[in-house]
Structure formats: structure tokens, C-alpha cells
């Protein structure tokens, strides 16, 4: 096959770079399994099914969400439906079934889809940007937060520089501190679905909350009807409740869920109609406090168009190539990092706070030497060696960089979350351990980030629990 020929010719034709790598690191190329890119992904994500499915590192309360939906629906189909089919119509379980399937599928799609993660800038690109910034000012100390102003539809928009991803964030992009990724059209990080909500999965998320509102309302209505009919049959509500205690459980769950879910659906319907994100709405980016000139530059000024664009617009592709293969010369570096990681960190955690700085500087210098003397291979291979270089680069600048150090210490705090995740109903613990993130001493840069975790609270109706 032509592909194989080129693949084999490539390292030999380039000569020095790959042979140097292999002799120095002493790993025979032929015996190496080709690794996929998800295995060295720098963000805090988990990957399953060989990179087909991805989740945030913190599962949040996704098991609780799934558990509640299954339990409530299960109780409904088992205890309420037989009675209602006898007394009313067979369409009740049918409608319930359709809604249930819809809810589960959209939930899984929201959780398992790449929300629109932007891959981090490669070293060349990062260096290019640094050069442009340094040209305009001195940077002997830690530089002030870098922003760039651009005009969008005649409105001034500030683009912020992301120290972690080493790039100026495109408009509407935000860096999620929980996932450690820049996400396009970042809405919020939803602990209920265990993933960020961004450009690529917002429509799934919206479909999920709308269908969940319908499902909870439907179950609530049916249970009320059931108990009413039963109490008429048996001359008493107490008797009816005693005959069907499961209905009371469903009633309680649905009653409390309906307020938050319906509220959330209504809020997101407003956001969709105005073409806003939760992030922008909470930060008041386009509010009229600065006068009439400020307005959302992304809106089409037509509710119908906004809805169509947000929900039915073209589906952009995933920019992180999860299942692409790495070239063999990148594998050794990840092998090194694996042995360094403490037990509770997974190998996907390429922030690698535990790796010694010296080792990183050595490997960085090593990679730089290789790159400067030899031309890169195909565009696919070049970025990957540079990615490993980028990881080392990002670590070396991380000590003064607050988000990373927070991440390191925060990881210790977050470990209890993984345990508490499995305990159902332990929302409070999850919330409190989130709180250390809010106490990050706010540099002007990270100022933009803390609202991201704050935004969880109003959306999810957590405020009463706080």
C-alpha cells in the first residue's frame, strides 16, 4: 500500500532525527505499539473505548443523574403504568418510554461528546505569539495579562491570552479550570453531565434539559393522576399511598427536580433566543451597563434565526484528533512520564506536576536540538513531537502560573470528590471541595476563570444547598 511505503520511507529519508531519538532512548521502533493521541492528551479528560468516548476527569454527579433518571422511570413503569394503562390509555407508557429514551440518549451524548476543545498551541506557534507580544513591551518579570482587542461587527471585543494553552483565545472561548481545556463557545461546566458544555454539545445539552423537563412533568402528572384515581377507588388518599409507596418516592423526586429543571430550560431557552452563553450572561459581557453601544455582536437580531443557528446550525468537527496515531518517536516520552506519576493520577494527566523540572529541561533541550537540525516529517508527525515539547514547555512556565499550581494542590482536594462521586446524594461534599477553586488569588488573568465555577451554582439550583 502506498501509505505503508511512505510511512516507512519517511523516517529513513529524514535520516538524523529519528535514528538519533531511537539510539538515545534505546527503544526499538518495530516492537512499539503505535499510541493514539488521546493517550497523551494534556487536558484533564478521561477516554474510553480507545478514544471514542471522552468525559471530564471529574465525573461530577453524572452517576447520580443517571441513577435518578433510571430509578424514577423504573418505578414509574413498574408501579404506576399498570394502573394507568388499566384506567386510562396504553399511550402513557409509550410516551413515557419515548421521553425516557430521548433523555438518556441526549444525556450520554452531552457527556461523551467533545464540547469543542481547542488543542493547545504548538511550540512554534506559541513562540511566534510570544515574539509579537514581547515586541510591544518588556517582559523580564511575569507579564501582565495579555489581551488583544478586535472588532467584531463594529463592536470592540477583548481576546485574552491563555497561559495554559499558549494562545489568544478566539472570541466566546473560555478556559475551563476543571477540565484544563479551552472550550469554544464555552457555556459552563456541568457537573450533572460530567462534562463542559460548549459549541459542539450545546444542542445535546439543550435537548437533554428540555426532554428531561417533559419527562419529569409527565411523570409528576401521571403519578398525581394515579394517586387521585386510586384514592377515589379506595376512598382515601392514605390508603392509596400505602398501596403504592413507590409513587410517593417519584413524587418527591419529581417535585424537587421540576423547579430546577424547568427553570434551567427556561433560562437556556432565553440564552438560545438571544444567542448568548451562560458565561457571557453571568459576566454581563453584553449588558447595557456601558451604554447603548454594547450589545451582543453575535446575535442575528431575530429570535427564530438565533434558535436555528444555535440548535440546527452546522456541526463543527472535533479539533482534537483523539484517535489519530502518534509516531513512534513520541512514545518514549510518555513512557517516562507514566513511571513518574503517583498512583492516583491517570496516565492521561499530562500536566505532570510530579515530573522533575530538570528532566523536563533536558528533554526539552533534546527535542529542540532534534527539531532545529532536521526538517520535520509529514505534517502529522511534526506536531506530535512538538506536542511533547509543548508539554515540557507548559510545565516549565507553570510554577508562577497560578492555574497549574492550583491544579496540583487542587488535585489533592479533588481526590475526595472521586470517592464521594460514588456515594449518591453527596452533592454537598462535591460542592464544598469545589470551593478551593474559588479561592484562587485572583490575578487579572484568572479573574475571568472563577466565574466559571461560580456559574455552576445558579444553573443547577445549588444556591439553596449552599
Amino acid at each position: 500500500m502506498k501509505n505503508c511505503e511512505y510511512q516507512q520511507i519517511d523516517p529513513r529519508a529524514l535520516g538524523t532525527s529519528n535514528t538519533r531519538t531511537s539510539t538515545t532512548l534505546k527503544l526499538p521502533k518495530n516492537s512499539q505499539r503505535l499510541r493514539r493521541k488521546w493517550e497523551v492528551f494534556p487536558g484533564k479528560n478521561r477516554f474510553y473505548c480507545d478514544g471514542r468516548i471522552m468525559l471530564a476527569r471529574q465525573c461530577g454527579v453524572l452517576p447520580l443523574t443517571i441513577g435518578l433518571i433510571f430509578i424514577t422511570s423504573g418505578l414509574f413503569f413498574t408501579f404506576d403504568c399498570p394502573f394507568l394503562v388499566d384506567h386510562l390509555t396504553v399511550f402513557i407508557p409509550v410516551i413515557g418510554g419515548v421521553l425516557f429514551v430521548f433523555v438518556i440518549f441526549t444525556l450520554l451524548q452531552t457527556s461523551f461528546t467533545d464540547p469543542g476543545i481547542l488543542p493547545r498551541a504548538l511550540p512554534d506557534e506559541a513562540a511566534n505569539i510570544e515574539r509579537q507580544i514581547d515586541n510591544s513591551g518588556s517582559s523580564t518579570y511575569r507579564p501582565p495579562p495579555r489581551t488583544k482587542e478586535i472588532l467584531i461587527n463594529d463592536q470592540v471585543v477583548k481576546l485574552k491570552y491563555c497561559f495554559t494553552c499558549k494562545m489568544f483565545r478566539p472570541p466566546r472561548t473560555s478556559h475551563c479550570s476543571l477540565c484544563d481545556n479551552c472550550v469554544e463557545r464555552f457555556d459552563h461546566h456541568c457537573p450533572w453531565v460530567g462534562n463542559c458544555v460548549g459549541k459542539r454539545n450545546y444542542r445535546f445539552f439543550y435537548a437533554f434539559i428540555v426532554s428531561l423537563s417533559f419527562l419529569t412533568s409527565f411523570i409528576f402528572g401521571c403519578v398525581i393522576t394515579h394517586l387521585t384515581l386510586r384514592s377515589q377507588d379506595e376512598n382515601g388518599i392514605i390508603q392509596a399511598i400505602q398501596d403504592s409507596p413507590a409513587s410517593v418516592v417519584e413524587l418527591v423526586i419529581c417535585f424537587f427536580s421540576i423547579w430546577s429543571i424547568l427553570g434551567l430550560s427556561g433560562f437556556h431557552t432565553y440564552l438560545v433566543a438571544a444567542n448568548l452563553t451562560t458565561n457571557e450572561d453571568i459576566k454581563g459581557s453584553w449588558s447595557s451597563k456601558r451604554g447603548e453601544e454594547s450589545g451582543n455582536p453575535y446575535t442575528y437580531n431575530n429570535i427564530f434565526t438565533n434558535c436555528c443557528v444555535v440548535l440546527c446550525g452546522p456541526m463543527p468537527p472535533s479539533l482534537i484528533d483523539r484517535r489519530g496515531f502518534l509516531p513512534p518517536d513520541d512514545a518514549p516520552q510518555t513512557v517516562t512520564s507514566d513511571t513518574e506519576l503517583p498512583p492516583f493520577m491517570s496516565k492521561n494527566d499530562a500536566n505532570m506536576c510530579t515530573q522533575g523540572t530538570k528532566e523536563l529541561l533536558e528533554s526539552m533541550a533534546h527535542s529542540t536540538v532534534i527539531q532545529s537540525t532536521c526538517a520535520p516529517g509529514t505534517p502529522k508527525t511534526a506536531p506530535v513531537t512538538q506536542e511533547s515539547l509543548l508539554r515540557t514547555v507548559s510545565i516549565t512556565v507553570s510554577p508562577p502560573n497560578r492555574p497549574h499550581s492550583t491544579g496540583c494542590s487542587g488535585r489533592q482536594a479533588r481526590h475526595p470528590i472521586d470517592v464521594s462521586c460514588s456515594q449518591k446524594g453527596n452533592k454537598r461534599a462535591a460542592l464544598h471541595t469545589h470551593k478551593p477553586m474559588l479561592h484562587v488569588p485572583s490575578t487579572p488573568y484568572s479573574h475571568g476563570r472563577s466565574p466559571l465555577t461560580l456559574s455552576d451554582a445558579p444553573d443547577m439550583g445549588f444556591i439553596p444547598l449552599n
Partner: protein, 172 residues
């Protein structure tokens, strides 16, 4: 092998190589990477994917301005076509909603089809226009759609095939 970006089926295959690599191998025997020029995104129309057509000064001596601008404008047109909101995209969206978005697993979206076209176009441009001038364009999808990366190669020896002069350009 097409050099298309990663669709669901193609992700399982080995890393792709440009067919133009055959010429670029010769390029690399006699040339080394000198510089990389990054064409940034142009956000004046919003978040749609569009690149700046400003001609970078590093390419002054390497390529004609019109050729470069034509390439970038063509790429911008392709991206605009991919992200166009209209009848077809709404139909796709509604159909996807009705099938609980499972349809995304089965069919190739219009965006993915256009990305393939873009990839073929870039490959063709590299072969015909850029490689003879000692330049190489990287598909923006490889860089998260943030930049168009143009690698600039310099001759190592005196008789390099990629001196960048238009007299040695083999094919357009």
C-alpha cells in the same frame, strides 16, 4: 490515500501522508526548515472561520502576493461554505434532532465533506504552487483552525531544487 482530515472511518487508519510528499522528500534532502509563518484568524465577521489575507512580510521574496491571497481567499470561501446556515444545514439539524442525533454516527455531515475538499485543495496548492517555491502549507485543522501555518524552507546546498525562484517551478 487522501489527505482528508479525521472522519470517523479514517481515524482508524495510520497517519496519512500527502501524496505530494514525494516531491517534498526531494525538498527536504536539499532544504531545511528555516522559518514558520502563521496566518491568524480574522474575527471581524464573528466566530466564523476566516483567515487574514494580509500578506506576511516574511514571504515577500518567496511567493507572489496574488497567489498567496488567492489561496487564502479560496480557503475562506470553503470555510464559509461549510459553516453556511441555510436550508441544507437546517434540514440536517432537524433530522439529527429527530433521530436523537444518532444520525451523526452514520452519515458524513456537510462540514466534514467540505473539510475533505479543503484538504484536497491544500494538497494541490502545495504540489503546484508552494513546494516549487520552498513553502509548505499545513491544513488549519491540524492546528485547531487557529492558524494557517506556512513552513519556509531554505536551501542547504547551492543546487537545491527548492530555491524558490519562479524559473525552477515545475508545474502550476
Amino acid at each position: 490515500m487522501s489527505s482528508a482530515p479525521r472522519t470517523a472511518t479514517e481515524r482508524t487508519k495510520l497517519p496519512y501522508c500527502h501524496e505530494s510528499f514525494h516531491n517534498l522528500q526531494e525538498l527536504r534532502h536539499s532544504a531545511s526548515l528555516a522559518n514558520k509563518v502563521f496566518i491568524q484568524r480574522d474575527y471581524t465577521d464573528g466566530t466564523v472561520c476566516k483567515f487574514q489575507t494580509k500578506f506576511p512580510s516574511e514571504l515577500e521574496s518567496r511567493i507572489e502576493r496574488t497567489l498567496f491571497e488567492d489561496t487564502v481567499k479560496m480557503l475562506n470561501n470553503y470555510y464559509a461554505e461549510a459553516e453556511k446556515i441555510g436550508g441544507q444545514s437546517y434540514l440536517e439539524g432537524c433530522l439529527a434532532c429527530l433521530t436523537i442525533y444518532l444520525i451523526f454516527l452514520c452519515i458524513e455531515t456537510r462540514y466534514e465533506k467540505v473539510l475533505k475538499k479543503i484538504s484536497r485543495y491544500i494538497q494541490e496548492q502545495n504540489e503546484k504552487v508552494y513546494a516549487p517555491r520552498g513553502l509548505l502549507i499545513t491544513d488549519p485543522i491540524e492546528r485547531g483552525m487557529r492558524v494557517i501555518e506556512i513552513s519556509v524552507y531554505e536551501d542547504r546546498g547551492s543546487s537545491g531544487s527548492s530555491s524558490g525562484s519562479s524559473t525552477t517551478s515545475s508545474g502550476r
